[in-house]
């Protein structure tokens, strides 16, 4: 995050947003801590949980990044029918509610899943999904597509003149163009995935196979719910922020600023690369990501019929919450991206490491003395979802904003553009793609998030994920899988509309 050559971007809105995020993240931890009498520090079990949490997050993030590179590269180099649809579809696993994705994975990789059926057919011994590798598998399933999208954006943001120049000079594209690009994109993508996996809890425990797969988030859950030890919950939440800070510092150290320079601002045409290998990579990735989705769709179709009319109210409520929090999130992300700098970088990762249970509890403690929490359930959900989605949207918008500033900032200043004209005529049109992607992601993430709503909601504020969990809790697994399909379809539709809107007339 180098200082911009010219100060043409408005900076104060970003300051306000950063302040709000910090208050929400750290203020809620303080609210929880203040309610507690501090007792013991961390026990042996806590340290084991921290160790497991960090190691699984590291391996998951590394694997996701390593696998995403060839996929993104293949997608950047190949043009084929359905490529655009495939890129959109890559967003789907990331948008799934956790438990739905876990069941989808189990239908493919589980004891009774497709893979083991195939192995048995071939006379091979069965494999087990449960254990450290299962946790990594699930996290890769969730996050590899996200990394692919982030890297793909990096690849496509390299001006085509550079590839043309490299091709005409017969220069090694990998070393002079792709490696510097990856150095600027990968560390932050790695950091995002690492932090997502850091707060994982349902996936880690369910597929981890037992208490050795205890994460810090589960320890927090236990502290709040079973021991009502708020001091310990706050302490553990601070541990999560601490790990986040260390990881962020590492990632920023090894990030090199993008050095490709300005071009004519149009997308890539490539002459290099082996078509056969790219096709294989794309096919394998598609297969891995879409098979569990297909199983979820297959299972959910019959359940759709057994849904009660009430589910549509919950669905409508969820869509409204998702749209509002997406709009809020996009505005906040834009304000932050225009400000740039260290403070913004911090606000861009902190929400990823926050424990939604601690944040929810903190908000509850703050709100409760003044107003019935159920009345604020939906507005609070909107706000919290917007803040939780902020890192992803910021990551989508921020590089584009700084690139626009580097490429066109001097021009803007020399022409004496006002901030308004600069934003309206130069920045926003060039941000359509990233904003569309980001807004879609925010909407879909909010759609599928259970997060704080469970702490606040009464009956009148039931959202679709909450309704789905309640169906599962009432033995109605078939209806729940119908609700899951509905949730998947709506999340994906929201994502698709926004993403598509941003990509109209663009080459991505």
């Amino acid at each position: 995050m180098a200082h911009s050559p010219v100060a043409i971007n408005p900076r104060w809105p970003g300051g306000i947003v950063a302040g709000l995020v910090l208050v929400l993240m750290l203020g809620t931890v303080c609210a929880v801590a203040m309610r507690a009498e501090f007792q013991a520090g961390l026990g042996a079990a806590d340290w084991a949980a921290i160790q497991f949490t960090v190691s699984q997050a590291f391996v998951s993030a590394a694997t996701s990044c390593l696998l995403a590179i060839p996929v993104a590269r293949a997608l950047a180099r190949r043009q084929f029918r359905g490529r655009s649809a495939l890129i959109t579809l890559l967003g789907a696993p990331f948008l799934l509610p956790v438990i739905v994705a876990v069941l989808g994975l189990v239908m493919v990789f589980g004891r009774n899943g497709l893979l083991n059926d195939a192995l048995a057919f071939l006379g091979l011994p069965p494999i087990s999904i449960y254990g450290f590798h299962g946790v990594v598998l699930a996290h890769v399933f969730f996050n590899m597509p996200l990394v692919t999208r982030l890297i793909l954006q990096g690849w496509l943001s390299v001006p085509s003149e550079r590839f043309r120049l490299a091709a005409s000079l017969n220069a090694p594209i990998g070393r002079v163009i792709e490696w510097p690009m990856l150095r600027s994109v990968l560390p932050s993508a790695f950091l995002v995935v690492f932090l997502i996996c850091l707060t994982s809890f349902v996936v880690a425990l369910t597929l981890g196979g037992g208490p050795k797969a205890t994460t810090v988030e589960l320890a927090i859950y236990q502290a709040v719910r079973f021991d009502f030890d708020l001091g310990r919950a706050a302490l553990l939440a601070m541990v999560q922020f601490g790990i986040c800070a260390i990881a962020a510092i590492f990632a920023w150290r090894i990030t090199s600023p993008e050095a490709s320079g300005a071009g004519f601002d149009r997308a890539v045409q490539r002459w290099d690369g082996g078509a056969g290998r790219d096709t294989l990579v794309i096919s394998l990735a598609t297969f891995f990501l879409l098979l569990p989705l297909a199983m979820i769709i297959l299972r959910g179709t019959s359940g759709l019929l057994s849904l009660q009319p009430d589910i549509w109210h919950a669905a409508l409520r969820s869509v409204i919450v998702a749209l509002c929090s997406s709009a809020l999130c996009t505005i906040m992300a834009l304000a932050l991206a225009l400000r740039a700098g260290r403070l913004v970088a911090v606000t861009g990762v902190l929400p990823l490491a926050s424990s939604s249970l601690v944040m929810g509890t903190g908000l509850f403690l703050v709100v409760y003395p003044f107003i019935s929490p159920a009345r604020l359930a939906l507005p609070i959900t909107m706000l919290v979802n917007a803040v939780l989605a902020l890192p992803f949207v910021l990551r989508s918008i921020s590089p584009a904003v700084s690139k626009i500033e580097t490429d066109f900032g001097r021009l803007g200043v020399s022409l004496g553009m006002s901030q308004g004209i600069w934003l309206w005529r130069i920045v926003l049109p060039r941000l359509r793609g990233p904003i569309g992607f980001g807004a879609g992601l925010a909407a879909a993430l909010s759609m599928g998030d259970l997060g704080v709503i469970a702490l606040f909601a009464g009956d009148a504020q039931e959202t679709l994920p909450l309704a789905m969990y309640r169906l599962m809790g009432a033995y109605k697994m078939e209806a729940a899988s119908g609700a899951a399909l509905l949730l998947l379809t709506l999340s994906f539709a929201l994502f698709w509309v926004c993403d598509r809107g941003g990509r109209l007339n663009a080459d991505l």
Partner: protein, 328 residues
């Protein structure tokens, strides 16, 4: 441009809860699945409002443990008049909060154990059990299960009520030998899930031969789905009980309505709703008896249960033993 829209929407949502000033409101804090449309909540609300001249409002909060945490967060300023849905593993802590008043109800309870808690009154109960498919050869004890290569899914005692129930079950049946049983059970456990739903879902996907649930679970499949393929495994050591209770909040602003509700809770009108909505045994068997299908369920020869004080006292040690055995 967007902000006014958001504010309007937020205000609209905030005002969406209707204000009912005239009729007295009785607020019952309960767990989510009680108040959901498939739970007992709606029918109970309709039945009570017929007689009470009041507005009964349920506030749902996660599961039993979340319910207690919620109450502890709210403290003495809680708006709840009655808290419904705690179980015997939680009542010792609940009692320590001093937020509960004696319920003052005497009722002929049909529990298999004696009940004399002044603060908490049962509204339903059940036995924990492993539930499997009928065509599967069931083990006859926890020990036989541990020695077999049968695969099971269980819940984490740190985040789930049934999970904690199994921990207590093994403790009640094996005492000091509980860690050894857990060590032998470890290779039977496919995985440990955070909650009941995930475990039951995995079982239905065929990931395990059985799942920790209740002896009454097959009744759901039988009655609601006309599917008789599920059965609970009857174990020689006996089965641990879950007794779900309600208590009157001491600081309630509706003490008479709260008393009325507690008495209503053990009446036929309330109790006959329980079996086919909460899928548990009613605390007082209704005059018409249990619904058809409940007669097919297993009846454990021996009921195991710790008093709430015992349960609280042994929890930490039992949890450590569990974690150690399963972390090998």
């Amino acid at each position: 441009m967007q902000k006014p829209i958001i504010l309007t929407a937020a205000t609209a949502f905030a005002l969406a809860t209707p204000a009912m000033a005239e009729t007295p409101v009785l607020t019952v804090l309960t767990y989510d699945s009680f108040t959901s449309e498939w739970g007992p909540g709606p029918a109970v609300e309709a039945a009570f409002e017929e007689t009470c001249g009041c507005d009964l409002q349920f506030v749902g909060a996660g599961d039993g443990a979340a319910l207690l945490a919620r109450l502890q967060l709210e403290g003495p300023s809680t708006e709840a008049d009655v808290v419904l849905g705690l179980d015997t593993n939680l009542t010792a802590v609940a009692r320590e909060t001093d937020l509960f008043a004696p319920h003052g109800v005497t009722a002929e309870l049909s529990l298999p154990i004696a009940w004399d808690d002044a603060n908490f009154l049962p509204f339903d109960w059940g036995y924990f059990a492993f539930v499997g498919n009928k065509d599967f050869e069931a083990p006859t004890s926890l020990r036989a299960l541990a020695d077999s290569d049968i695969k099971i899914v269980i819940q984490d005692p740190r985040s789930s009520t049934p999970g904690l129930g199994l921990l207590m079950w093994v403790q009640a049946a094996y005492g000091d030998d509980a860690p050894a049983l857990w060590t032998d059970l470890a290779d039977n456990i496919v995985t440990v899930t955070p909650g009941w739903s995930e475990a039951y879902g995995l079982f239905l996907e065929g990931e395990a031969d059985a799942v920790l649930s209740y002896t009454t679970s097959p009744a759901y499949h039988l009655i609601a789905e006309e599917d008789d393929s599920k059965m609970a495994w009857s174990f020689d050591e006996g089965h641990y009980m879950q007794v779900e209770v309600a208590g009157k909040v001491a600081g309630t602003d509706q003490p008479e309505l709260a008393d009325k509700f507690m008495a209503f809770m053990v009446s036929d009108a309330f109790q006959s709703i329980i079996p086919t909505t909460n899928w548990m045994y009613p605390a007082v068997t209704p005059a018409d008896g249990l619904p058809k299908g409940f007669d097919t369920l297993i009846t454990p020869a021996k009921s195991l249960v710790f008093s709430s004080e015992e349960a609280l006292a042994i929890r930490a040690t039992a949890l450590d033993a569990w974690r150690t055995a399963l972390s090998q």
